[in-house]
């Protein structure tokens, strides 16, 4: 579903964010992307989102080389990918419902059908009763769940998350991860960047570890030992 071939990214100014990264995620696979801050996790996700352009190598998504995508096609490509941001990126000038509605509006859904899907997505994240509230009035964990509802409302095949639990306490973070696993179970391919090793090693999914832009570890069944080892490196 997502394949990196020898991908390197250098930012203007010379900082080399990714160095010759190669890996492949299968359809319906779930993986964590970990490493210290500055290791290149966000850059990797940004390359998939086409927010940044790579300097070397190629990225295939769904079998297509996304770096050859004409600019006009980029919006349509992005619609197939749901993204959850650390700071959730909700809009505070509209209700929870309207926030989740946004991707469907963009795709030109019929209002009735869109409303049905929005409610389904909000129900999935357990926020159906808060649809009329402004997202600024709800808690951080709830805001993040609204962000997730927005990311999945048009049922993308791929879900990316950049530090989705970064601002949450452990209990809420665990709830969010359970939610992600549920989406994965219905076939969504997931790549979740997180440095919260104590949380993600418990979940027994594939784990890609970045260090200074290099992919130094690709464990399909991360062990407890690895977890303690990495916890020591956390910043």
């Amino acid at each position: 579903m997502i394949r990196f071939d020898d991908v390197s990214k250098r930012y203007p100014g010379g900082h080399e964010a990714l160095k010759q990264v190669s890996f492949e995620l299968e359809k319906g696979e779930m993986a964590f992307l970990t490493g210290r801050s500055g290791a290149g996790k966000s850059t990797l996700l940004k390359l998939i989102m086409l927010i940044e352009q790579l300097n070397q190598g190629q990225i295939l998504v769904g079998g297509r080389n996304i770096n050859r995508l004409p600019p006009r096609q980029v919006p349509y490509y992005r619609r197939r990918i749901g993204v959850v941001f650390q700071d959730h990126q909700l809009l505070f000038d509209r209700s929870v419902f309207d926030n989740v509605m946004l991707p469907l509006q963009i795709e030109g859904y019929d209002k009735h059908e869109a409303a049905r899907r929005v409610r389904a997505a909000l129900d999935k994240v357990g926020l159906l009763d808060k649809e009329k509230l402004n997202p600024i009035t709800i808690s951080g964990g709830e805001q993040q769940r609204v962000g997730i509802a927005r990311a999945v409302v048009n049922r993308p095949q791929i879900l990316l998350a950049d530090e989705p639990t970064g601002n949450l306490d452990p209990e809420l973070a665990a709830e969010i991860m359970v939610l992600f696993e549920q989406f994965n179970q219905v076939g969504v391919c997931m790549l979740i960047a997180s440095h919260d090793l104590s949380l993600i090693t418990r979940l027994k999914h594939r784990m890609l570890t970045l260090d200074q832009g290099r992919l130094i570890k690709d464990e399909h069944q991360p062990s407890r030992a690895a977890a303690t080892n990495h916890t020591g490196q956390r910043t």
């Binding site: 919006p75 992005r78 809009l91 991707p103 963009i106 030109g108 019929d110 049922r155 095949q157």
Partner: protein, 320 residues
């Protein structure tokens, strides 16, 4: 949700019927237009300032246009009185006058030649000036006989040629063209027409830049929203649409405001203008913008607002 349900539903959105798509598209545009209008209301002070500036910029050419239109009424009606008056010497034989009149009537550039005797002239003068008593009190009639020629067309050159032809004819004292001031009015009118066009061009640019600038500000204030929409796959067209509608509203409302201001101005001027026009006879009336010019004002201003927004959008949305 099962994987099967997932794939089925992602198919269903690509198989929306054209009718459904069109309905959704119309709904989206209507929503966008209403939303853009609501956003103008949300910042009443800023919007009012922009609208006022647009309205004033549009009012100027409209006002000049109306002035020109009212003046051209005179032009049109006076063009009918396209006359050359040939004054005759006193004590000219009736046969000479007859011959002269026939000669004139036969001329290519003359549509009619009409003899006015000194008595007729005196009577006309008495009636026209209201000085009948004075005329009566004169011992002799000081007015000469004349022949009034109606030229075949309204061109200045025609009248001039007639003057040259008959100036030296036997029995003619002198020839007077009534056209000279008409000529001046004519050139003044074509000057106003050019001024209107120049003003329209210059002030259209002003409207373009005013709207463009307002749209730039609102793009800056909605940066977060634009960024998010961009990330979740909104096309540039989708992101630009609300701003284009804002521009359209600015233009249209500014044009409407200009129209209202002009109508108010006409209302204020109506009294004095009617009084003034009464001196020139009853056929003149103060004219407003009229239907087609109003349509041009409103339509043109809406297009200008949209264009201004378009310019601003293409400059500032690419940053995201």
């Amino acid at each position: 949700m099962t994987p099967a349900a997932n794939s089925r539903s992602s198919n269903s959105k690509t198989t929306l019927s054209p009718g459904q798509r069109f309905k959704a598209w119309v709904a989206l545009h209507r929503e966008c237009a209403v939303d853009a209008l609501r956003r103008l209301q949300q910042q009443p002070a800023g919007s009012a300032m922009t609208l006022a500036v647009i309205a004033i910029a549009l009012l100027l050419p409209a006002l000049l246009y109306v002035t020109g239109k009212n003046l051209s009424q005179f032009d049109n009606s006076l063009a009918q009185a396209n006359r050359v008056t040939v004054y005759l010497q006193t004590d000219v034989d009736a046969s000479v006058i007859d011959e002269l009149q026939q000669q004139m009537a036969a001329h290519d550039l003359v549509s009619s030649a009409h003899y006015i005797s000194p008595e007729q002239a005196a009577a006309d003068f008495a009636e026209w000036s209201g000085l009948g008593d004075v005329v009566d009190s004169l011992a002799t009639n000081p007015l000469p006989a004349s022949i009034v020629i109606q030229a075949s067309d309204t061109r200045y050159e025609t009248a001039q040629q007639l003057q040259e032809t008959f100036d030296d004819a036997p029995g003619v004292d002198f020839v007077q063209m009534d056209q000279l001031w008409l000529q001046r009015l004519d050139s003044f009118l074509s000057l106003t027409q050019r001024a209107v066009i120049a003003l329209i061009v210059v002030l259209s640019l002003a409207v373009l830049f005013i709207t463009g600038n307002s749209i730039r500000t609102s793009i800056a204030s909605r940066e977060a929203e634009i960024r998010v929409m961009n990330l979740i796959g909104a096309t540039n067209g989708f992101i630009a649409r609300p701003f284009l509608y804002s521009g359209l509203w600015y233009g249209l409302l500014g044009g409407a405001l200009a129209w209202i201001l002009l109508a108010l101005l006409m209302l204020v001027l109506r009294g004095p203008a009617t009084e003034l026009l009464a001196y020139y006879g009853n056929q003149y009336q103060l004219q407003g913008l009229g239907t087609s010019a109003s349509a041009v004002l409103l339509g043109g201003s809406a297009v200008l607002g949209w264009l201004g927004a378009r310019l601003s959008v293409s400059r500032h949305l690419t940053r995201f």
